[in-house]
C-alpha cells in the first residue's frame, strides 16, 4: 500500500515546552486513523502542522511522496500550497464563512481557484449537499443552522476540492451530544468509501467502530498505536489504560 502521509521525528517546541516530541507515523491510502489522547497531548498541533497551520521545529513530513517539511523547515510558499491542496480540513468550530450562504461557502474556493467550469462547481455543490443531507439548506446563511448542520456543511465544503486526504480536528467537540450522531454518520460514510482520513476525536465509540487504526498520544508523543481492538481491549501502556478508564467513566 502506498503511503499518503509520512511523518518522521516531528518536533515542535516553545522555549522549554515540547509540544511534539519526535512524532512519527505513516498513513496508507484509504486508511481511517483515529487519534485519541488527553487534552493538551499535541493531537491537534500534529494535525494542524500537516496543513501548515502550525510551524514546527524539527523532523519531516512527506505528503504523497512530496516533502512538505524537511529538517523542521517547511518548503517554499508555492510548494506548500500545491502539496497541501490535496488535503481538506474540518475544524472543531466549523469556521464557516458567515457572510456567505451554504452554497457560497461550498463554491467560494473552487470558484477562486478556477480549475473547472462554474457549471461543474455548482453541480458538485448540489451533489455534496445532498450527500450530507442538506440539499434544502443551500441558500441559507450559516447563522440559521444548528451546530450539526454547520459541521456537515463544513465537511461538504472540504470535499468540494476533491481532496485525497481529509483531516478532522475534534469535529464533534463543539456540538451538543444529541447532534454528534448526524456528523459522525457522514464521517463514517466517507470512511466506508475509503477516503484517507485522520480524525482527532474524543468519541471513543466512534474511534473503535470506524477507525482502521488508533493512535494514542500523550504529552507530545505517540505512546501506543494499533487496531481498535488492540488499543481499546488490550492496551499495552499504563498511560493508555488510565486514559481509557477515565474516558469510559464519563
Amino acid at each position: 500500500m502506498s503511503s499518503m502521509i509520512e511523518v518522521n521525528d516531528l518536533e515542535k517546541s516553545f522555549g522549554n515546552l515540547d509540544v511534539l516530541k519526535k512524532v512519527s507515523f505513516n498513513i496508507a491510502a484509504g486508511e481511517a486513523v483515529a487519534v485519541i489522547g488527553p487534552s493538551g497531548s499535541g493531537k491537534s498541533t500534529m494535525l494542524r502542522s500537516l496543513v501548515h497551520l502550525e510551524e514546527v521545529t524539527g523532523g519531516s513530513i512527506v505528503i504523497q511522496g512530496k516533502p512538505l517539511v524537511e529538517n523542521g523547515k517547511y518548503v517554499s510558499g508555492a510548494s506548500i500550497r500545491e502539496i497541501t491542496s490535496s488535503m481538506g480540513m474540518v475544524f472543531q468550530h466549523f469556521n464557516l464563512f458567515p457572510h456567505l450562504t451554504v452554497r457560497g461557502n461550498l463554491e467560494l474556493a473552487p470558484r477562486m481557484l478556477k480549475r473547472e467550469s462554474v457549471k461543474e462547481i455548482t453541480a458538485r455543490s448540489r451533489d455534496l449537499l445532498s450527500k450530507v443531507g442538506l440539499a434544502e439548506k443551500a441558500d441559507v446563511y450559516p447563522a440559521k443552522l444548528s451546530g450539526g448542520q454547520k459541521q456537515r456543511v463544513a465537511i461538504a465544503r472540504a470535499l468540494m476540492l476533491n481532496p485525497d486526504i481529509l483531516l478532522f480536528d475534534e469535529p464533534t467537540s463543539a456540538l451538543d451530544p444529541e447532534l454528534t450522531g448526524e456528523v459522525l454518520r457522514v464521517i463514517r460514510q466517507l470512511a466506508e468509501e475509503n477516503m484517507t482520513m485522520i480524525v482527532v476525536t474524543h468519541e471513543m465509540n466512534f474511534a473503535r467502530d470506524v477507525a482502521d487504526r488508533v493512535i494514542f498520544m500523550d504529552n507530545g508523543e505517540i505512546t501506543e498505536s494499533g487496531t481498535p481492538s488492540q488499543i481499546f481491549d488490550h492496551p499495552q501502556q499504563e498511560r493508555t489504560r488510565v486514559f481509557l478508564s477515565k474516558e469510559s467513566r464519563l
Partner: protein, 217 residues
C-alpha cells in the same frame, strides 16, 4: 411662513456646500481609512509606524485646529508656504479627509480584530491566497462589523461640516448666521437645524437599510 420660504432659498444654497463637502470627504476618507488600516497591520515596520503616527496625530488634535492649519497655517510655512495656498474649500476638504480617514482607519482596525482567526485558517486550508482571503472573506465581514460605527461617524461628519464657518467658507450655518444678524430673528437657526436633521435622517435610513441588507441571516 413667507419669511421661511424667503430665507430657505439661500440656505439650501448653503446646504449644497455642506452636502458637497460631505460627499467628497466620505468618498475619499473611507478608502483612505482602509488603506491606513492595512498599513498599520503591515509587516513592513516603517509603513506601520507611519500609519500609527498619522492616526495618533489626527485623532489627538482638534479638528478645528487642523482646519485652521490647512487653510491659514500652510501658506505661512517659510519657503514652501507660497506653493501651499489653496482654495479654502479645497484646503478644508483636505483637512476633513485626513481627519476622518484616521477615524475610519481605527474603525476598520476594530472590525478586523473582531474576525476570528479560524476564518483565516479555513480560507488557507481551502487554498485561497492571502489577497483572495482579504477580498472574499475578511473585507465583507469587516464592513459588516464596522457598519454601525461608520454610520455614526457619517452623521458626525454632517454636523462637523459646520466648522467651515470658522474658516469662512459659506455653507448652511454661515447663511443662517447672516440672516439672524440681518433680520433680528432666531428663525434661520431653526430652519438650519431642520435642514441638518433632514440630512441626518436620510443617512440614518440609508445605513439602517444597509445593515438590514447585510445581516447574513
Amino acid at each position: 411662513m413667507d419669511y421661511i420660504i424667503q430665507i430657505s432659498g439661500p440656505m439650501l444654497e448653503g446646504a449644497r456646500t455642506t452636502v458637497l463637502l460631505f460627499l467628497i470627504v466620505i468618498l475619499v476618507s473611507i478608502p483612505l481609512g482602509f488603506l491606513v488600516t492595512l498599513m498599520a497591520k503591515s509587516v513592513i515596520k516603517p509603513l506601520a509606524w507611519i500609519a500609527h503616527t498619522y492616526i495618533y496625530v489626527m485623532r489627538g488634535t482638534p479638528l478645528l485646529l487642523q482646519l485652521l492649519f490647512f487653510c491659514f497655517g500652510l501658506p505661512q510655512i517659510p519657503v514652501i508656504g507660497q506653493y501651499l495656498v489653496m482654495d479654502r474649500f479645497v484646503a478644508a476638504s483636505l483637512g476633513f479627509i485626513l481627519n476622518y480617514g484616521a477615524y475610519f482607519a481605527e474603525i476598520f482596525r476594530g472590525g478586523m480584530l473582531s474576525i476570528d482567526k479560524g476564518q483565516h485558517e479555513a480560507a488557507k486550508v481551502l487554498g485561497l491566497s492571502k489577497w483572495q482571503t482579504l477580498r472574499k472573506v475578511i473585507l465583507a465581514q469587516m464592513f459588516r462589523v464596522a457598519l454601525p460605527a461608520v454610520a455614526n461617524e457619517s452623521i458626525s461628519l454632517v454636523k462637523d461640516t459646520a466648522l467651515l464657518y470658522a474658516v469662512a467658507v459659506p455653507e448652511l450655518l454661515n447663511y443662517a448666521k447672516t440672516a439672524v444678524n440681518r433680520d433680528f430673528t432666531v428663525t434661520p437657526f431653526v430652519v438650519a437645524g431642520v435642514i441638518y436633521l433632514l440630512m441626518t435622517l436620510v443617512l440614518t435610513l440609508f445605513f439602517k437599510a444597509l445593515e438590514k441588507r447585510f445581516k447574513f441571516e
